[in-house]
């Protein structure tokens, strides 16, 4: 087939060229290729089918609960599925989930990037190996252990920081402290920051390590300091990778359950101050309400889970858009 095409003397029409190119791209088809094609296509379709099934199930169960909700599902500051009629809403949960994750990101991303840069560009090799191991191990600690550590050690030691914040930043309202137990959004954010640190650090480290050696050496040869090399060659190159890494961390922070449930003092209120106990997150609320929930209560929790699903989807979509806009720096084009 291919040989006849090539020996054909007449100039190929555009259609012919296209068909030929396609065929060439497909390459020769042997049974192995066809089986592999079938397997990978099947896996792809299976994945879509599973996702669709989950979405249909969640939407169906959620719609049952929302139909029976006496309050507004989006704005009610209450979660009481045992009432007749039931009344519940996700306002507090959405607020708490987003605020705690933002705090975690604000703390974790700069530290993670700094650690990654230190490991790839400053630390002696003998030191960077063990540090990388320790960070890997941090990621393997179960979240309930973080939760227990947070409740037993972190919370009792937060009073000093809280007092300091209240003294110097209390006038903002955001850091006003009434003297409650420090089981607040800020403590949760700090704990989440520690939990998402390893994943952001590890991915950023890998990205920074891929920075083109030649550009770095060229910059050094031109008289740049090490910091200038990092600022001009390494960080722009790694930016989209760091964004991806942060999104992985953010995903974990949004969905973190046991640690939040152990450390937070959940109440259905929204406080202006980050230091006052109270608030809640989607995952924490599901974990703490599930065991005593009736059928309707479970459907309501599923509905709240669906909202978390949508939020995660939006966040990931936004991240993809940011990365796409910065494509010129991404590893694929370097």
């Amino acid at each position: 087939m291919d040989t006849t095409q090539i020996t054909d003397a007449s100039p190929p029409t555009p259609q012919q060229t296209e068909a030929e190119l396609k065929r060439a791209a497909r390459g020769a088809t042997r049974p192995g290729d066809r089986i592999f094609l079938g397997l990978s296509r099947g896996s792809g379709i299976l994945l879509l089918a599973i996702m669709a099934a989950i979405a249909v199930f969640l939407t169906y169960r959620a719609s049952i609960a929302i139909g029976k909700d006496d309050g507004n599902f989006l704005t009610t500051f209450e979660w009481n599925t045992g009432l007749i009629p039931p009344k519940f809403g996700i306002a507090v949960l959405a607020f708490g989930t987003i605020v705690s994750s933002i705090i975690a990101m604000v703390i974790a991303v700069p530290i993670a990037v700094a650690i990654a840069l230190f490991l790839t560009h400053y630390a002696p090799r003998r030191l960077s190996g063990p540090i990388a191991y320790v960070i890997d191990l941090l990621a393997a600690v179960p979240s309930i252990v973080y939760g227990l550590w947070g409740a037993l050690i972190l919370v009792p030691h937060m009073n000093g920081l809280y007092g300091w914040l209240d003294d110097y930043l209390g006038w903002t309202g955001i850091f006003e402290w009434q003297g409650g137990a420090p089981r607040s959004m800020l403590t949760v954010g700090i704990l989440l920051a520690i939990m998402i640190l390893p994943i952001i650090t590890n991915v950023s480290r890998e990205v920074f390590r891929q920075a083109p050696q030649m550009i770095e050496e060229a910059a050094l040869a031109l008289g740049a300091t090490r910091w200038e090399v990092i600022r001009m060659a390494v960080i722009p190159f790694g930016r989209s990778g760091v964004i991806s890494a942060s999104m992985l961390g953010l995903g974990r922070a949004l969905g973190e359950t046991m640690a939040v449930a152990t450390v937070l003092s959940p109440t259905f209120t929204i406080q202006a101050s980050l230091l006052d106990p109270g608030g809640g997150t989607f995952a924490q609320n599901i974990a703490s309400k599930f065991s005593e929930a009736s059928d309707l209560g479970r459907d309501a929790l599923i509905a709240s889970g669906l909202v978390l699903f949508v939020i995660t989807l939006l966040v990931n979509g936004a991240a993809r858009m940011i990365i796409a806009r910065r494509k010129e720096y991404s590893g694929a084009n370097a």
Binding site: F77, E78, W79, N80, T81, G82, L83, G129, P130, Y133, V134, D136, L137, A140, V141, P142, I144, V145, L148, W149, A151, L152, V155, P156, Q178, G179, G180, A181, R183, A261, T262, S265, P266, T267, F268, T269, P277, G278, S288, K289, S291, E292, A293, S294, D295, G297
Partner: protein, 374 residues
């Protein structure tokens, strides 16, 4: 070679992390009741347990509030009859669901069955329906942590105002009036409630509704309704927070109110304030009415009781079984176990574990009902 060394190092770190985790979880879990269970109660006369032809294995699930009591009973019963009873304690709601799905032989619940749950039970109880058998009483202690105050008396309206954030300082005149002579500090009150849905919350708020309606304008239920305050998970979580936080107050099952947590005495209108104790809870349950129909023995507690020494903030947990149509292969074991826990010996085990025994005339009705199970 080098790789192996690295692996070993990673392994060492891992081992460190795991052992640390184990140590932490060991600290976290409150093992209440176990001491009592293995102490005095194990000497109870195990031979008095009537086994009949009970055999095999029983599955049960439900209220976590009575888990410690069930554990102590199961220990005795298994010793005498060799029947394994596996009570999961995953919560009243989960227990009733498991029961109406036919997965367990009996369920434990902090609140009596609702009409729709009775209807649902008719599927698994062929020819009968599920009934409530009051088996375990429990005082709900109001624990507090105020430096320099070892004794504290509160009444229902004050409690309602404290938990509804209407009273915010420990030296509030309303508290001072009830505690003449106590040195109440100028300290912020930090009121703790349960973060998850709970039968303890249900019973505590039922008490507030019954006795301080104007200060507690909520409808009640297993979820906490008042805004504000702070929360923690489980009685153990509340107890831990009260211990840690100066100025804290919270409600918990009596067995958790120890090691530095003082329970509040309640001014019920009786001649003297009533302490939270097992005996005083039993006295309050004696004032309850049976409101269940037929063989159902659901109780309605009199929260506004003014009887001498009756501690009004009390919960009663039930065992739920079918009155007719229990499964043939579990009926003998279920009946034998329920008979044992309702017996004098069985009820004696309760007091050793900080639970309140059910008063005589009610438990007598329970015993009659158990004999009629089929």
């Amino acid at each position: 070679m080098k790789l192996q060394r690295k692996n070993r190092r990673a392994l060492a770190f891992g081992a460190l992390a795991v052992s640390g985790a184990l140590a932490l979880t060991a600290c976290g879990s409150d093992d209440t009741g176990d001491g009592g269970g293995s102490g005095a109660s194990s000497t109870a006369n195990a031979s008095s347990v009537k086994c009949d032809d009970a055999k095999g294995q029983l599955l049960a699930d439900g209220s976590s509030a009575q888990k410690n009591a069930i554990d102590a009973w199961v220990k005795q019963f298994t010793q005498a009859c060799g029947v394994q009873i596996n009570y999961k304690g995953s919560g009243s709601g989960a227990g009733i669901t498991a029961f109406t799905n036919g997965q367990v032989a009996f369920a434990g619940s902090d609140s009596a069955l609702k009409p729709e749950e009775v209807t649902a039970s008719k599927k698994v109880c062929s020819g009968g329906q599920a009934i409530d058998l009051p088996m375990v009483g429990g005082p709900i202690a109001i624990g507090y942590n105020v430096p320099g105050v070892d004794k504290l008396t509160l009444d229902a309206p004050t409690l309602a105002k404290i938990f509804n954030n209407k009273i915010s300082k420990w030296n509030d005149p309303a508290i001072a009036k009830l505690n003449a002579g106590a040195k109440l500090p100028d300290l912020k009150i930090q009121a703790f409630h349960r973060s998850e849905d709970s039968g303890t919350t249900d019973n505590f708020t039922k008490y507030l509704i019954a006795t301080a309606k104007s200060d507690w304008p909520y409808s009640g239920g297993k979820a906490w309704q008042a805004a504000g305050g702070q929360s923690a998970s489980g009685s153990s979580g509340i107890a831990q927070q009260v211990k840690q936080t100066s100025g804290a107050i919270g409600y918990m099952e009596l067995s958790y109110a120890k090691d530095g947590i003082n329970p509040v005495s309640i001014d019920t209108g009786a001649s003297a304030p009533v302490e939270a104790s097992v005996e005083n809870a039993t006295k309050a349950i004696a004032d309850a009415k049976v409101v269940g129909t037929g063989s159902d023995l659901a109780l309605q507690l009199n929260y506004a009781t003014k009887a001498e020494g009756a501690y009004p903030i009390t919960l009663v947990t039930y065992e739920i079984a079918c009155d007719k149509g229990n499964k043939a292969d579990t009926l003998a074991a279920t009946k034998a176990f329920l008979r044992y826990i309702a017996s004098e010996d069985g009820q004696k085990v309760l007091a050793d574990n900080d639970y309140a025994p059910i008063p005589d005339d009610i438990i007598a009705k329970v015993r009659t009902t158990i004999e009629g199970l089929s």
